[in-house]
């Protein structure tokens, strides 16, 4: 087992280095930079001298390799440098928003699991009935409906119902409060974004539950369980579901890593000040240092989640370790 963990750890290194190289050099292909944009934003005439001063301040005038080394070596010791746009430490900017995004991500994963496992099970047990068709259509709809539009529709629905019931339209809290301070205030802000993102992520897991369960239900030991007269409920819960959960857990784990992508749009709709919104802002303002730092954070979360999923999988199923 330790050998397997070590092997997986070593495999993470080239991916991380590769991602750093890719994102760093991709961003250097952009024509124009943050300095020109800053001048234009301040309504100043883009004076070459001024731009040069700005570039020198940000270290953009040094050779690309030096800049890359600074970025990468800083990254290794969790020093992400300063935002080229606001001038503040990137770790500080990320720290402000990390808790919110993480909480939405966890709540969305919970929502997805709570939708996926019961629906997938019903769909498999009632295979090829109208219930099955309905569940399948519902889960494909989850992939098809853009989460930002679902978000807009949820807001619209909330506005209309609260208007009708209370006479005043619903207003979400604007500032993030920790759930430990004000649990209900926190929930009223984050529950809807979590539902909008979670529904989308439940789709893949629902389908995975269905097909994994269908496969297990064909096994001999299920027939044996039926033959000895066990109740259907018991067969499903104790024998079938437990054995079909492995791929489902994997899918949910991997999806968690991709949640960051989903958050980019959801945070925009619900106007949440999280990492996704910060990412979009950094792209629009050509804030290289911020964009590359955020991309590296996402990539790290992704690689690390994948690593954990692999380890759990190998721990549960010894065949993988020796493959």
């Amino acid at each position: 087992m330790w050998q397997y963990i070590l092997k997986r750890l070593i495999l993470m290194i080239p991916t991380l280095v590769g991602a750093a190289i890719l994102i760093f050099f991709l961003l250097r292909l952009i024509p124009g930079d943050v300095c020109e944009l800053k001048m234009a934003g301040a309504g100043l005439y883009a004076d070459q001298e001024q731009i040069d001063i700005c570039r020198a301040e940000l270290g953009l005038d040094r050779s690309v390799m030096v800049q890359f080394w600074e970025f990468f070596s800083g990254f290794l010791v969790f020093d992400l440098g300063k935002s080229m746009w606001t001038g503040r430490e990137i770790t500080y900017e990320i720290g402000l928003r990390f808790q919110l995004s993480l909480q939405v991500a966890i709540m969305a994963t919970l929502t997805a699991t709570l939708i996926a496992i019961p629906l997938g099970t019903i769909s498999a047990v009632k295979q090829n009935t109208w219930i099955d068709y309905f569940v399948r259509a519902f889960s494909i709809a989850g992939i098809a409906i853009p989460s930002f539009w679902l978000g807009i529709m949820i807001i619209l629905g909330l506005l209309i119902t609260t208007q009708a019931w209370f006479g005043t339209p619903w207003m979400p809290p604007i500032e993030y409060v920790s759930p430990l301070e004000d649990f209900w205030g926190n929930m009223s802000q984050l529950i809807w974004p979590a539902v909008a993102t979670g529904y989308r992520y439940s789709a893949v897991a629902t389908r995975m539950t269905r097909s994994a369960l269908l496969e297990v239900l064909r096994e001999d030991y299920i027939r044996t369980a039926r033959a000895k007269g066990l109740m259907d409920k018991l067969i499903i819960n104790r024998h079938a579901l437990k054995n079909s959960m492995l791929p489902v857990v994997t899918v949910i784990g991997i999806e968690f890593a991709f949640l960051m992508g989903g958050l980019v749009v959801t945070e925009q709709v619900f106007n949440l000040n999280g990492l996704g919104k910060l990412f979009v802002e950094s792209v629009t303002s050509q804030d290289f240092s911020m964009t590359q730092a955020l991309v590296m954070v996402v990539v790290c979360v992704f690689i690390f989640t994948n690593f954990l999923v692999d380890i759990v999988y190998a721990w549960l199923d010894p065949r993988i370790r020796y493959a």
């Binding site: 098809a144 853009p146 506005l159 269908l214 992508g261 925009q268 991309v295």
Partner: protein
């Protein structure tokens, strides 16, 4: 004397060679895959409105008319008007053009590139394959939209750049899948036979390997078209995709759909319905095609 058995064999071959008429195939598909047929109908409606947008759309999708701002449903404006007085129905119909253009171009370029790279990687194997896999790993570590946004930030917005941004993340995803099925094909003796005949690598890859990975490849294209439409809508919604005044569904939701959501809900509702239906259609259709082509799934 020509033996009757030979004649029988020949007749049997001829029967096999005769294609069943398309109509009967379509009928069988419709009977076995009701959901898939529904998807196919949606896709056809979309293709139709994209092709004949000039004839179907009741109004000009681009011209602003400030005397008709945010009007509700009426017989002239079936789905109402937006904040510039443009007819929403017409913009949705023309939007199908943008969506299909981006969807098909990105899906086809991305998957064909992925196909060639994936098969080549499996064919050459060894160090090339190992290196190639690591590069693909790097690309796969980026969530789709993050990579697309990074590409947009480099090339800028606009329809061509959106296509590039969506195509790039598709390549490794396709190459991965194709490589794994091509690896199995490489072991089959006819590839050795082709090599013994002295055929060039390019010929073996293109003539002998590529046709045999077509089934998973075609299924992947339909899935990619749906994903590309969704991705284009998301990018445009963020203001980093297709730019005004081009009619595009995601863009229609960007400019003030939320602001006017309460007073003019039609601005926010219908473009989203269009995106959802389109992606829904492509996914349903792709799923059923897979079920039909893959004998293992037929009984499920």
């Amino acid at each position: 004397m020509v033996t009757t058995s030979e004649a029988r064999v020949e007749a049997a071959f001829e029967e096999l060679a005769v294609e069943r008429p398309l109509l009967s195939k379509v009928k069988e598909f419709a009977r076995k895959q009701p959901l898939g047929t529904f998807g196919a109908v949606i896709v056809l409606v979309m293709v139709f409105s994209a092709l004949f947008a000039d004839f179907i759309a009741p109004h000009d999708p681009i011209n602003n008319s400030y005397e008709h701002i945010l009007e509700s449903y009426s017989s002239t404006y079936l789905l109402g008007t937006d904040q510039f007085g443009r007819d929403i129905l017409s913009r949705i119909i023309y939007g199908a053009r943008t969506a299909l253009l981006v969807g098909f171009t990105a899906a086809i370029i991305g998957s064909v590139t992925g196909l060639v790279l994936g098969v080549a990687s499996a064919f050459f194997g060894g160090r090339f394959d190992l290196l190639f896999q690591r590069v693909m790993d790097v690309f796969m570590a980026f969530p789709l939209i993050i990579l697309a946004l990074a590409v947009v930030s480099i090339f800028g917005t606009g329809i061509q750049n959106v296509i590039i941004a969506i195509t790039i993340p598709f390549i490794p995803r396709c190459a991965r899948v194709v490589r794994s099925s091509a690896l199995a094909i490489r072991e089959i003796p006819y590839i050795d036979a082709a090599r013994a005949n002295g055929f060039s690598n390019a010929r073996i890859i293109l003539r002998h390997m590529v046709p045999n990975v077509m089934a998973p490849f075609l299924i992947m294209i339909t899935a990619f078209v749906g994903q590309a439409i969704l991705l284009e809508a998301s990018l445009s919604y963020l203001g980093l995709g297709v730019q005004e005044p081009v009619p595009a569904w995601g863009l229609m939701l960007q400019g003030g759909a939320e602001e006017y959501a309460e007073s003019a809900p039609w601005v926010a509702i219908w473009p989203g319905v269009a995106v959802s239906l389109a992606v829904f259609g492509f996914n349903l259709f792709g799923d059923s095609v897979r079920d039909t082509l893959d004998p293992k799934l037929r009984s499920q």
